[in-house]
């Protein structure tokens, strides 16, 4: 069969897309874990990561022509780091401004959502004003992203796919270890499990929440860099990617780190594998994604892996 023959290729594309979703979804899930809040502005953290890394990378390699091939890994690392730093600082500021003040006032949950929406509008439009509002980007082409690395059946593995999937896997393993094994991870889990008790145990809740935002922001910022190199970004890209990543987080069980990874990859795979099936069509991509989500939630109301951050890690 025509379609079946192409499945390996679509799986590869799905994994690439899914890695991206997963990296962003982790931020949603971490924040949800500790605050039981949907951080709507997380998508803009992702967006600012892309712009931040652009500025740094652009300063380092200019338009990217003539970058020696030995420097490429270095440039990627610089890009990831600068994206992560931007993302982390935006996320930290966000927590300070839009969340902590509301927490102090004991605001209702929806107020957090709306302040996050306000912050999201603000950040995305401010970025539009500062940089530009055009879709499509001029990210420097410092390496041949589309060079074929290897071929598995119909799947032609290209450089950028390797970079994305590899980085995502490394970062996810890193995060998993971080939450499972470090002191910070323990305090995050404790806050997620039972904040008042954690506070009684001497855990500084504010600081833990702040750091959770920073971790999630760093991941999203790095994802922003990857996204910018591989696809195109603009000040409004965050919204759509963020919505999907939120869906991915819910799919896996929001508040659950491994769930977010799984949900992201699953969503990416579904989006790549289902629409090309004959008689479906790419235009139904989002519908397919949301229908899968609803189906999963109907049968497993708390997502694939359930929702506790503390329990799953």
């Amino acid at each position: 069969m025509h379609y079946i023959h192409q499945i390996p290729a679509y799986v590869l594309l799905g994994l690439t897309r899914g890695s991206m979703y997963a990296l962003i979804a982790l931020g949603y899930t971490l924040v949800y874990g500790v605050l039981q809040l949907l951080n709507f502005a997380h998508s803009e953290v992702f967006m600012s990561g892309a712009f931040g890394s652009y500025i740094v990378v652009h300063a380092v390699v200019g338009d990217g022509k003539g970058t020696p091939s030995w420097a490429v890994p270095l440039v990627i690392v610089i890009g990831l780091l600068s994206g992560a730093v931007t993302g982390a600082s935006v996320a930290w500021t966000l927590e300070r401004v839009a969340y902590r003040t509301l927490r102090r006032r004991g605001a209702p949950k929806l107020a957090f959502l709306i302040s996050a929406i306000g912050a999201s509008f603000f950040l995305s439009q401010l970025a539009g004003k500062l940089f530009n509002r055009f879709r499509g980007n001029g990210f420097p082409k410092y390496f041949d992203q589309n060079r074929q690395v290897l071929r598995i059946s119909t799947a032609r593995v290209q450089v950028f796919e390797v970079v994305i999937i590899l980085t995502a896997v490394i970062m996810m393993i890193f995060l998993d270890r971080l939450v499972a094994q470090t002191k910070l991870g323990r305090s995050i889990r404790a806050v997620a499990e039972d904040a008042p008790t954690a506070a009684l145990m001497g855990i500084d809740i504010d600081r833990t929440i702040s750091r959770t935002f920073v971790i999630g922001g760093a991941l999203a910022g790095a994802a922003g860099f990857l996204f910018g190199t591989a696809f195109s970004f603009s000040n409004t890209v965050g919204f759509d990617q963020g919505t999907k990543a939120f869906a991915a987080a819910v799919l896996g069980g929001i508040g659950n780190i491994r769930g977010a990874m799984m949900g992201g990859l699953l969503l990416g795979l579904v989006e790549a594998l289902v629409p090309p099936i004959p008689h479906i069509g790419i235009q139904w991509t989002d519908v397919v994604a949301f229908v899968v989500l609803v189906m999963v939630l109907i049968f497993r109301p708390t997502g694939l892996l359930g929702e506790r951050l503390g329990r799953a890690a």
């Binding site: 897309r17 290209q158 996204f227 790419i282 235009q283």
Partner: protein, 394 residues
């Protein structure tokens, strides 16, 4: 009694005068309260024209492409005193959204000093406001509303400098039918892209050429799946209905997926944004466009440079058309005489014959531009060049 009839006379006189000057005297100059009864646009006076299009929101890019060109034309007219009067531009943001368009249109309609409007940019918005522009007697020249039905809905005020997407799509389909056995047609789910793609598909069907159809939302950033699907389909040609930025991304993804067939898009994709964005992936892409080669017209040579100098970016989709529409409008206002009114400008636009950088602007009674030649362009080595009338290409 005597007094009363005098009063009556007064009112009658008043009514008479008002009827005569109903439109002209509404105009006020921006410099002072010296309004006076002349209200004329003698040399040195300022004329207002409006622009309606998306300046914010998801579709803002197209509106910015256009409004920049309109602004450029206005600035040039003021700097060179081309038309003998000063021009002020009033921008009105309709977000490209039919629901917001009436408000934006009203803002222009209620200002009696505005004599003509460039826009609306989007067909949906145009449909929502056409009737109210008719009622206000305010003439429209749209640079980009290409929906074929617009000129059949009876909007007297509506004119456009681009051929409808149905014509463009039909000719493109014709051409593809000559070249390919099976065509993959993709649109961006926008009014324009879908309209063009529909026309291509219909024409292919009429010519007995097989085709398949997909849609990719214009907000998509990852074109790899659809590109792979195109590549895997084994079709020998692709038509993309959509705008330049998206077309560029699609071109890159197609190249990465290894698609080697014929690739073609319409007017919406033909711009330097495509060339820049797609770079070498855009080579050999074909463009069908109801426009002249922008390098031939004398004023056109400077347009791109002036645009870049003013806005630090290259002109993009529909920028040249908007530039032309503005100059056409200003020419019409000049033709409307020393004291132009909306009604006079309206008539002058209908009688216009203006050679712009994209095409010769002369309107049919329906509001369509007369010159409906579809030309074929192709990108080669990073530059878009004219191949000639699409019908003569083989």
């Amino acid at each position: 009694m005597y007094k009363r009839s005098l009063a009556r006379l007064g009112v009658l006189g008043l009514v008479g005068v008002l009827a005569l000057t109903a439109c002209s005297s509404k105009k006020k100059t921006g410099s002072g309260l010296t309004g006076g009864s002349s209200g004329s646009a003698a040399s040195g006076a300022t004329i207002k024209i409006g622009f309606e299009g998306p300046l914010s929101g998801d579709n803002a890019q197209l509106g910015i492409n256009e409004v920049n060109a309109v602004q450029l034309a206005v600035d040039q007219a003021n700097a060179n005193n081309t038309y003998g009067f000063k021009v002020a531009l009033v921008k009105s943001d309709d977000v490209g959204d039919p629901a917001k368009a009436p408000t934006a249109a009203t803002a222009l309609q209620q200002d009696p000093a505005i004599l003509g409007v460039i826009g609306p940019s989007f067909s949906g918005a145009t449909k929502a406001v056409g009737a109210s522009y008719d009622a206000a007697g305010l003439v429209l020249i749209s640079p980009s509303a290409t929906n074929p039905t617009l000129t059949t809905l009876g909007f007297k005020s509506f004119h456009r400098v681009v051929p409808p997407d149905s014509l463009e799509g039909k000719e493109a389909g014709d051409y593809l039918a000559k070249k390919a056995k099976k065509v993959f047609v993709v649109d961006d789910l926008s009014d324009y892209g879908k309209g063009a793609a529909d026309a291509v598909e219909a024409e292919l069907k009429a010519k007995g050429v097989a085709s398949e159809r997909q849609g990719v939302d214009a907000k998509t950033t990852d074109y790899s799946v659809i590109a792979h699907q195109v590549q895997a389909s084994g079709d020998d040609a692709l038509f993309y209905g959509g705008y330049d930025t998206q077309a560029a991304q699609f071109a890159k993804a197609l190249k990465a997926a290894g698609f080697t067939g014929l690739t073609m898009t319409g007017n919406g994709g033909k711009s330097s944004k495509f060339t820049e964005g797609a770079a070498d992936a855009g080579d050999n892409w074909l463009f069908s466009c109801g426009c002249l080669d922008a390098t031939v017209a004398p004023q056109a040579k400077d347009f791109s440079a002036a645009y870049n100098a003013a806005f630090k970016t290259d002109p993009s989709t529909y920028s040249p058309e908007a530039y032309d529409a503005t100059n056409a409008m200003l020419t019409a206002i000049k033709a409307a005489g020393a004291s132009p009114t909306r009604a006079k400008v309206f008539a002058a636009v209908n009688a216009l014959d203006f050679k712009g950088i994209t095409t010769e602007i002369k309107f049919e009674p329906s509001g369509e531009v007369s010159a409906q030649v579809i030309n074929l362009y192709q990108q080669k080595a990073g530059k878009i060049g004219l191949l000639g009338d699409i019908n003569t290409q083989s």
